[in-house]
Amino acid sequence: MNFTVKLFAAMRDLSGSDTAEVELPDGATVGDLRREIAKQFPLARTLLLRSTIAVNHDSAENDRPLQSTDEVAVIPPVSGG
């Protein structure tokens, strides 16, 4: 499964791109996706630990299995308002 993961704010600055291309085996979970992003962007690891992963616009736990059609994004701690 291939995902184009959306990145925002400092996550985007640290990784140098507003998306990350991630390839995962079938049955992979949100936790697997986290590990792959951390591997690709070592500078963003600390922020990634404090971020949630959104799947189809809702926060997802690490044990959630991913589908190839899912929209995935890294959500750093928010600061709107």
Binding site: K6, F8, A9, A10, D13, L47, R50, A54, H57, D58, A73, I75, P76, P77, V78, S79, G80, G81
Partner: protein
């Protein structure tokens, strides 16, 4: 009603939209760009959003607010892009039959928005440096 916009927020219009003949109270909250955070001087802010998720979360906040209080109308607008000191970054207008619940409901909307909605701000200092604000959101903390 909620809106993400790059244009200046017309908060008087937002307030009018929240008025209802069934309501005796309308509360308007405005968030405005502050020049100082601790010792740090801010020259301007930049806001960005993950728009489809932000709209979904705002719809959920509206639904939960209506579940908890007898709300007439809710109108929310959040600004995106570059904002100068003093400009309105967010506006929340809520009407209810009575003032106590209008104050409570309006406070719940802004506190929950700051906690849950994927919007981020970057504080830009006089020396040209900028920093995204990523402290853990606590309702009412910032």
């Amino acid at each position: 009603m909620f809106r993400l916009t790059h244009d200046a927020i017309d908060h008087a219009n937002l307030l009018e939209m929240a008025r209802s003949p069934h309501c005796g109270a309308v509360v308007l909250f405005l968030g405005t760009v502050r020049d100082l955070t601790g010792q740090q001087v801010t020259v301007f802010l930049e806001y960005e959003a993950y728009a489809p998720m932000a709209e979904k979360k705002l719809a959920e906040i509206e639904a939960e607010t209506r579940r908890r209080w007898s709300v007439g109308e809710i109108a929310i607008a959040h600004r995106l892009g570059r904002l100068e000191v003093g400009e309105v970054s967010v506006a929340v207008a809520v009407s209810c039959p009575h003032r106590a619940e209008a104050f409570e409901a309006c406070r719940y909307v802004i506190d929950t928005l700051k906690e849950l909605v994927p919007i981020w701000k970057k504080e830009n200092a006089p020396d040209g440096t900028g920093e995204w604000v990523h402290q853990s959101a606590k309702p009412g903390a910032t």
